[in-house]
């Protein structure tokens, strides 16, 4: 029981990841899909950041009287990953807007069917 609880951060990650992935799989609405994707990515960010936490460690800013710092590298990495995630979200939402203009709907459910043609 203790081990399960002591890994609670990973459980949160797993649960968030599953919810996000389920959204991507099961939701037809494109905005919801993008949100699911965000959730999915965020779970990974938490994974990185929580791994960088050292018990008893302080925020990784150099100051007087503090010896033990958390690992700063994951934060830096995740800052970059967040930027990437934001960009992805932006592109995804922009595409959603364009799809709404072109099709009049953002339900991914059989959107392509109305175009006659070569999808088999």
């Amino acid at each position: 029981m203790m081990t399960v609880l002591s890994f609670f951060n990973y459980w949160i990650v797993v649960v968030l990841m599953m919810i996000g992935f389920y959204c991507v799989i099961a939701r037809g609405n494109m905005v919801k899909k993008v949100m699911g994707l965000n959730l999915f990515q965020t779970s990974v960010f938490i994974l990185f950041i929580s791994a960088g936490k050292i018990v008893g460690g302080s925020t990784p800013i150099v100051r007087e009287g503090v010896e033990l710092y958390s690992n700063p590298l994951p934060h830096v990495l995740i800052l970059t990953a967040i930027v990437v995630g934001v960009a992805t979200t932006a592109v995804g939402l922009a595409l959603t807007v364009r799809i709404n203009e072109a099709y009049g709907s953002i339900e991914d459910d059989h959107l392509g069917d109305e175009d006659d043609g070569d999808e088999q």
Binding site: F21, V24, M30, K33, V34, L37, F40, Q41, V44, L47, F48, A51, L73, P74, L77, T80, A81, V84, A87, T88, V91, G92, L95, T96, R98, I99, A102, Y103, D108, L111, G112, D115, G117, D118, E119, Q120
Partner: protein
């Protein structure tokens, strides 16, 4: 300036040029800047390859020594792939001018900027020796690619782009999860450093899970069956130039990343043992070869047909990998290179037809053999290469693949490879039959031969297909060096 210092510029030049490009108005200057940047990249990559084949080059960014700083670490394997990517881009760009003018008439500055971003991202992935850096470049190139695909004139391009975005992000995030697991276990992100530290901790489920996540993530970007579903639409509805570029480069780079992790970071004698990787990859590869070829035989849209053919060809490469031997990896690298040559030539020929006729449907190919003989002959000759007729590049890679299969005593693979080659004859033949043996219907406009600006690059690639089918020193040498760089010169069990 030494080669080591020059090397990062093949990534930086297109990155910087893309900023310039985004601001340029009109139709000529964006293209010209892109061309210059791309050729510069290609030249640098060409200079790097011979040096990297000798000794592994290492460049530390900002003079932070690895493993703390970001390192560009180039051996024969990345140099080979980087040359392929930059070279394909450089060959495709002269072709791009007319086609892009037709299909993306407005805001070409942004379009070419996206292209340069994608190129720089792909090159960054190949050259970087830092796992997280690979993820970042992967996302840069992917985001640019989504934008490029969305430029297609058909509204389905938007849908294809969106679906690719979702799947691509899922794939990249899987890669990130894998990298995260590795970082948690080893505390480093440098690939070479990871390879050193992993053996101590590799008997943990975390490391095994990392391998699984990385393989699935890259399998997605690589369009390995059954993770290929995004690819056909993306290739079909993207502007012709984007398809030409992606077909030769994007999946190849993804394959490279997968190989880099499986072979260099995790040693093959570990990664192929803990997961039933060889079996899984072989089954998926064979399934991809068959399913891709099978579906391609019935596609009415030629771009889509070639896209499915790509799924099949990815199957050949993965098959080479799954054999876990020097010859198998050599075959995979050879096919990676040769497939880029032939598929780019084929997509160029189809793009040329689309430029002249306005459609890539099989029914619009009818009777074109007489009015566009050069374009369609180029298609037929590149088709010979994809079938694997001797004297073409396709034969060389299939030959090595078959040798690799025979070395392992896998006779049935030889049969499967030959059967799928026969299927390739069928789908290439459909186009030839329509072009030469059917009359052009009266209600369709007659089309004349395409302009030279489109024909010459296409024929250059066709000629390369035959050149590398006869003179195999460069390709086989490069591929063998790449395979040895990954396998460390030894044979895995």
């Amino acid at each position: 300036m030494t080669i080591t210092e020059l090397m990062p510029f093949s990534v930086l030049v297109p990155l910087i040029a893309s900023l310039v490009c985004a601001l340029l108005p009109g139709r000529f200057w964006p293209w010209a800047v892109t061309l210059v940047a791309t050729i510069t990249s290609a030249v640098i990559a060409a200079i790097t390859l011979p040096a990297a084949a000798q000794v592994t080059l290492s460049y530390a960014f900002g003079n932070w020594p690895p493993p703390i700083g970001i390192e560009y670490r180039v051996d024969a394997a990345n140099a080979f792939v980087a040359l392929l990517v930059a070279g394909m881009a450089a060959v495709a760009l002269p072709w791009a001018k007319k086609s892009v003018d037709r299909e993306v008439p407005e805001r070409q500055g942004a379009f070419y900027a996206l292209f340069l971003l994608a190129l720089s991202g792909l090159l960054g992935i190949t050259l970087s020796g830092d796992a997280f850096n690979i993820f970042v470049f992967l996302e840069i190139s992917s985001l640019a690619t989504y934008g490029l695909i969305a430029h297609g004139s058909d509204r389905r391009a938007l849908l294809a782009s969106f679906r690719y975005l979702i799947m691509g992000t899922v794939g990249a995030t899987f890669l990130l999860i894998g990298i995260g697991f590795l970082y948690v276990m080893t505390g480093t992100l440098n690939l070479a450093d990871l390879a050193e530290r992993l053996p101590e901790v590799r008997d943990t489920s975390t490391v095994r899970a990392a391998l699984a996540f990385i393989i699935v993530g890259m399998g997605l970007k690589l369009a390995m069956l059954p993770l290929h579903l995004w690819l056909p639409n993306a290739y079909t509805y993207a502007p012709s130039f984007v398809t030409v570029f992606l077909a030769g480069t994007a999946t190849k780079v993804a394959l490279y990343v997968m190989l880099r992790f499986v072979f260099t970071v995790f040693a093959p004698d570990w990664s192929f043992v803990v997961l039933p990787l060889s079996t899984v990859l072989m089954i998926l590869a064979v399934a991809g070869m068959f399913a891709g070829s099978w579906v391609a035989m019935f596609q009415p849209n030629i771009k889509r047909m070639l896209a499915y053919s790509s799924v099949a060809q990815v199957g050949y490469m993965v098959l080479g990998v799954s054999l876990v031997s020097i010859v198998g990896l050599t075959a995979a690298f050879l096919h990676l290179f040769n497939h880029a040559l032939m598929k780019t030539a084929l997509f160029m020929a189809v793009g040329t037809v689309i430029y002249q006729v306005g459609s890539g449907h099989l029914k619009d190919f009818r009777g074109l053999g007489r009015t566009m003989p050069w374009t369609l002959t180029a298609f037929a000759l590149a088709g010979l290469s994809i079938i694997g007729v001797p004297l073409t590049a396709g034969f060389v890679s299939k030959w090595y693949l078959i040798q690799a299969a025979l070395d392992q005593g896998q006779w049935f693979l030889v049969v499967l490879i030959l059967i799928t080659s026969l299927m390739a004859i069928v789908y290439i033949w459909r186009v030839i039959e329509a072009a030469w043996f059917q009359e052009r219907p009266g209600n369709q406009p007659a089309a004349g031969e395409a302009p030279l600006a489109l024909l010459i690059p296409t024929w250059v690639l066709v000629a390369l297909n035959f050149y590398f089918g006869i003179d195999t020193r460069l390709t086989v040498g490069g591929a063998t060096a790449a395979a040895e760089a990954l396998l460390g010169g030894g044979m895995a069990p």
